[in-house]
Amino acid sequence: MIELVNVKKVFNAGNPSEFSALNSVNLFIEENQVTVLKGPSGSGKTTLLSIVGCMSRPSAGRVKLQGREITSLPERFLTDIRRKTFGFIFQQPNLIKGISVLDNVMLPAYPLGEKRSHLKIKAMKGLCELNIANKAASKVEWLSGGEAQRASIVRALINDPHIIIADEPTAHLDTKLSYRFMEIIEKFKAEGKTVIITSHDPLVYESTMVDRVVKLRDGQIED
């Protein structure tokens, strides 16, 4: 489903501070599987994830999504793919303060022009499934850590993406909430979604629902 061919990523190329985050990475990620990118800090996990999720471009190499080469796409086409294909869950919930949970969840869908009433129904359904529908009207600063994380998951799903990308999702969660998060991931898998997670949390990469663990070190995949 996702294929990386000889992907390299160099930051500050040509400067004394040049840093090579990824070195000739070749990887194939299967559809409807949970893949974990595991590795120590600075191994290139997040860089790889951001390239897969079309959030950044490689310095060399190509990425194919369902057979279609996407790294060469002009920015507006890439934005469209990013918006419709990927759902992002970050280490921090990154919710926008000052507006309600419901508005936060609906925000990524606004550029697609869907009718607000339909959107609201979809958002409320998502909040119900993760048991935070009662917080829909609350401002995000009133949420607990777990509630904020769940709100960010609902936000990631609002455009019904095929691929969920989660960057260190359990880094700020306690054990109980981390297990709860993995249950949610299992549900995504059951729905046919592809999940890619970066983590160095054993609770994540040792989970039974994880199909594949890809080990990264110094910007390269370890056999």
């Binding site: 000889n6 471009r57 490689p58 310095s59 060399a60 790294t71 060469s72 796409l73 002009p74 086409f77």
Partner: protein, 337 residues
């Protein structure tokens, strides 16, 4: 050189534009030589990123190029009081041997820059940079003319001397003179030229509407719009100006941009230049209709270009007709002055 704000603005615009074009050509040549969308090589990815910068930059540069034609004419017009004998831009452009060649080059570059913008817009609609090599090839063609224009424009403004006695438009565009292209056009018979103008315009508009509705005859429309542009310019000198000035002997194509004539010349020229660029743009894009990544949008864009061109030519004709109808001048016989 005369240190007038408009002269400085013209030169600055020319130097900035030329500098940016040179920068773009440097990467354009690399794109022409090394572009390979199938490759994941570092250079290819650098070129993919660079092309955003270059095409954005060139969009502004060529936008400025379009405006610079009118700024140039405005400057020539506003410098008129400084030269003995000059009554309008026609005289100012005649103060040295570089004024008119610069104007001709500016008109030529206006059309080329407009075409590049049309091509660039179409290319940006495709997901795989379908026209990238074509648009950089066109840039390689345009760039020398832009640079030549800058050299001529610099020579024109830098060699300007206030003590020069120049010719007025009445002399440069006079049907009595025997030499000079201005006089030759001015001496064309007004009534037959009017017939040629209206009949060619009728055919052009008909062809444009037919293409818009049926999608046929696009190349013919592009050719006709170029022909119509030339005929319109000749017509302005030959008979349109006569009706605007209400004088059977005054053929100047520059006095019409003056306040006394409500700046109508600017409107007429904007309509005319807009019409020719969109009209030729139809022909320039037609060969790429079958390109896979453009198939969905290019047909509609070309039709819209044709419609824009038709509307602009129709508006030009309406303005000209209004001036003729509302004019006190009646040309009932051949002008022989």
């Amino acid at each position: 050189m005369i240190l007038h704000p408009t002269v400085i603005a013209n030169l600055l615009a020319a130097y900035i534009g030329s500098g940016m074009v040179l920068y773009a050509v440097f990467y354009g040549v690399q794109i022409l030589r090394h572009w390979d969308i199938q490759s994941g090589h570092e250079l290819q990815l650098v070129l993919e990123r660079k092309t955003y910068l270059i095409s954005t930059l060139l969009s502004y540069v060529f936008g400025l190029q379009l405006l610079s034609l009118f700024l140039y004419i405005f400057t020539a017009d506003s410098l008129t009081p400084l030269f003995v004998g000059a009554m309008c831009a026609a005289g100012t452009l005649n103060v040295d041997s570089f004024g008119y060649p610069t104007l001709v080059l500016k008109i030529f570059n206006f059309i080329l820059a407009g075409l590049w913008l049309v091509l660039n817009y179409a290319d940006n609609q495709g997901y795989d940079y379908p026209l990238i090599k074509k648009k950089y090839l066109l840039l390689a063609v345009v760039a020398p003319f832009i640079l030549l224009e800058t050299i001529l424009e610099s020579a024109y403004f830098l060699s300007m001397k206030a003590d020069v006695i120049t010719s007025c438009c009445g002399s440069l565009f006079s049907s009595e003179r025997v030499t000079g292209i201005g006089s030759e056009i001015a001496s064309l018979p007004a009534l037959p030229m009017m017939w040629i103008f209206y009949s060619t315009m009728f055919c052009t508009l008909l062809c444009g509407i037919f293409f818009y509705m049926k999608g046929l005859g696009g190349y013919l429309y592009a050719a006709l719009s170029l022909l119509m542009f030339i005929i319109s310019l000749v017509s302005i000198v030959s008979f349109i100006s006569l009706y605007i000035y209400e004088l059977p002997t005054h053929h100047c194509p520059f006095c019409i941009i003056m306040e006394e004539y409500n700046y109508i010349g600017y409107l007429l020229y904007i309509l005319l230049f807009g019409a020719v660029v969109s009209g030729i743009g139809v022909g320039a894009l037609l060969p790429f209709r079958q390109v896979e990544s453009l198939q969905a949008m290019l047909g509609g864009f070309i039709r819209n270009l044709a419609l824009t061109s038709v509307i602009l030519y129709a508006a030009f004709t309406a303005m000209v007709s209004y001036e003729i109808v509302s004019s006190s001048l009646v040309i009932a016989y051949e002008v022989v002055y």
